[in-house]
Assembly symmetry: D2
Homo-oligomer: 120 residues x 4
Amino acid sequence: MAQEDSIAKLQAQIQVFSEEREWDQFHTPKNLILAATSEMGELAEVLQWKSDEEVVAFLQTDQGRAKLSEEIADVAIYLIRLCQKTEINFLEVIQHKLNVNEKKYPIDTSKGNARKYDET
Amino acid sequence: MAQEDSIAKLQAQIQVFSEEREWDQFHTPKNLILAATSEMGELAEVLQWKSDEEVVAFLQTDQGRAKLSEEIADVAIYLIRLCQKTEINFLEVIQHKLNVNEKKYPIDTSKGNARKYDET
Amino acid sequence: MAQEDSIAKLQAQIQVFSEEREWDQFHTPKNLILAATSEMGELAEVLQWKSDEEVVAFLQTDQGRAKLSEEIADVAIYLIRLCQKTEINFLEVIQHKLNVNEKKYPIDTSKGNARKYDET
Amino acid sequence: MAQEDSIAKLQAQIQVFSEEREWDQFHTPKNLILAATSEMGELAEVLQWKSDEEVVAFLQTDQGRAKLSEEIADVAIYLIRLCQKTEINFLEVIQHKLNVNEKKYPIDTSKGNARKYDET
């Protein structure tokens, strides 16, 4: 199966879903970014008061994993929908950016250093 | 090719990339959510002052499409990395949430109405 | 009344509120940024599907104004709390940044142009 | 000095600043929320890779405090501008929400517990 088909399949489902409910009209790029932002907020909320140790314990529970999974999915769905509405290939642009990052962050200058490449 | 392989391939590249630079240590779930948030901010910034008409014109330029694509990719990469570090299957949880949404938003009550199902 | 007192008064109330509930322990800078992010998500959600005209109509209703007000307040409370926990003076840093912006965006080069000063 | 004047003074400066540059036209509520989101992203970025201990050390440096202060200010400026454009009283709505929170989170049920009041 071609690489794009896994995302294309999800997009086909999202398209039908949106059309059936006459929601396509609301899916402008700016609105989709606001919606992705609202879901990013819900993702942040899942872990906002937990220490790193509590996060580990939380993610060992079914409820915890389900909650985090749901919020990741919600953000991803809007990004995938944004790509669909703007005819951007989701998997291709990610692959492209990963390749760009390889060059932008040479191993020898990046090792163990979390600073962005252009930060003093 | 199995459905997971397209994302799994990207995750393999992200894993090597992170290990080569000794960045894996920074990739806790909370840190990855903060990083995804910072990239969501850059995505919002691309269109923040443009009217919907200006957005259309902008996305017809190579520079505009490249900029939007890059920021979508940056958010997606951190979500995919978060899934990898927490052993959540990115494509599966999206598929699951799309199925949940079908039930949560029945067509007859949702048609043309952008309100969330539990909003008055 | 000195300029800081209006914010200082709110901070005093937030401090008592947090101590009474033994929530002070959770208010690390990173956690407060995640919490502010979650509230920013709720703010985005209020208007995410509305056109600019619908936003105007919405904000003419008591319910609409109350909803937007609540979410603005929620983000602001976490920023003010973050300042309190890091001993940053909320009003002073805003005043300082406004002064910096005056220099960063000279009127003649900025007029009617929404681009950031260092964007091509 | 009346309580609102400290924020009103900042708003007066923001109004002049925006008019001088003919930027007022861009400051619709949705655009201002996108802009606040982009600044929230920059705020998240300041601490995203730091452990809680590294955050403490970072905030003891002048550079660290200045960076965090700047990003807090940037988010706050857009919230204050949003209030100005929608005729919402920034300080009043915060005071109101703090009062609401006192009732929403009774001390006895909230003590030491970071869960939201309606969470299981």
